[in-house]
């Protein structure tokens, strides 16, 4: 494994509480599964980060090994792999994804507010 790439991935999932690794971008997805995933995430109504793995071949090569997950897209929340497209859709249909995303977004908004207060 390339340690440089792994470090980059670790940093991305640490700095972005909600991040999706996908093919293409949410507005211009390059794969049906990535498109569906971005769509349900957008329907959750909170901002999220994304990495286009087609533009980042090193991440495309290393993340499946690091995550022990063979396919894309991959949704990571608070440094933990939640799953791929089927899991996101299934969680969305059960209302679980909305809750997870809303709670995570609220938590980090609070932290941002606190750090602003401290300044």
């Amino acid at each position: 494994m390339s340690t440089e790439t792994i470090e980059k991935i670790k940093q991305q999932i640490a700095e972005n509480p909600i991040i999706v690794y996908m093919k293409g971008s949410p507005k211009l997805p390059s794969c049906g599964f990535s498109a569906q995933s971005a769509q349900v995430l957008m329907n959750c109504g909170e901002p999220f980060a994304y990495v286009d793995i087609l533009q980042n071949p090193d991440i495309r090569a290393e993340l499946p090994k690091y995550a022990n997950w063979p396919t894309f897209p991959q949704l990571w929340v608070e440094g933990e792999l939640i799953g791929g497209c089927d899991i996101m859709l299934e969680m969305f249909q059960q209302g679980e994804l909305q809750t997870l995303i809303a709670e995570t977004a609220a938590k980090y908004k609070d932290e941002e507010a606190e750090s602003t207060d401290a300044e």
Partner: protein, 104 residues
């Protein structure tokens, strides 16, 4: 052996499923491969008490060789027997491929 048969055999022996449907969806996608995109529906006691990510990891492990060598996409719908009854046998549809990754 056909990949579809291979997948069916492996999943059958690993999960002894109540319901197993291995569907070849390669026709919905761009590219020349005839056995590249699959959807599996599995209903098994092996999923009892496991979160979705845990279930999918089990299937990924079972099909690691096929995922590495043959399969481009694997849609997965994993249920326990109780969940299957609640769902009344309905499974979500997979999306059509947009073909973007083939051009890149």
């Amino acid at each position: 052996m056909k990949i579809q048969t291979q997948i069916t055999d492996k999943l059958t022996s690993t999960f002894t499923p109540d319901v197993l449907d291995v569907i070849n969806e390669s026709h919905m996608h761009s590219g020349p491969a005839m056995e590249s995109h699959f959807k599996v529906v599995i209903v098994s006691d092996a999923f009892n008490g496991k979160r979705l990510i845990g279930r999918h990891r089990l299937v990924n492990e079972c099909l690691a060789k096929e995922l590495a060598e043959d399969i481009h996409a694997l849609a997965m719908h994993t249920y326990t027997p109780e969940e299957w009854v609640e769902r009344k046998d309905s499974v979500p549809l997979s999306p059509n491929c947009l073909g973007g990754s083939k051009k890149a």
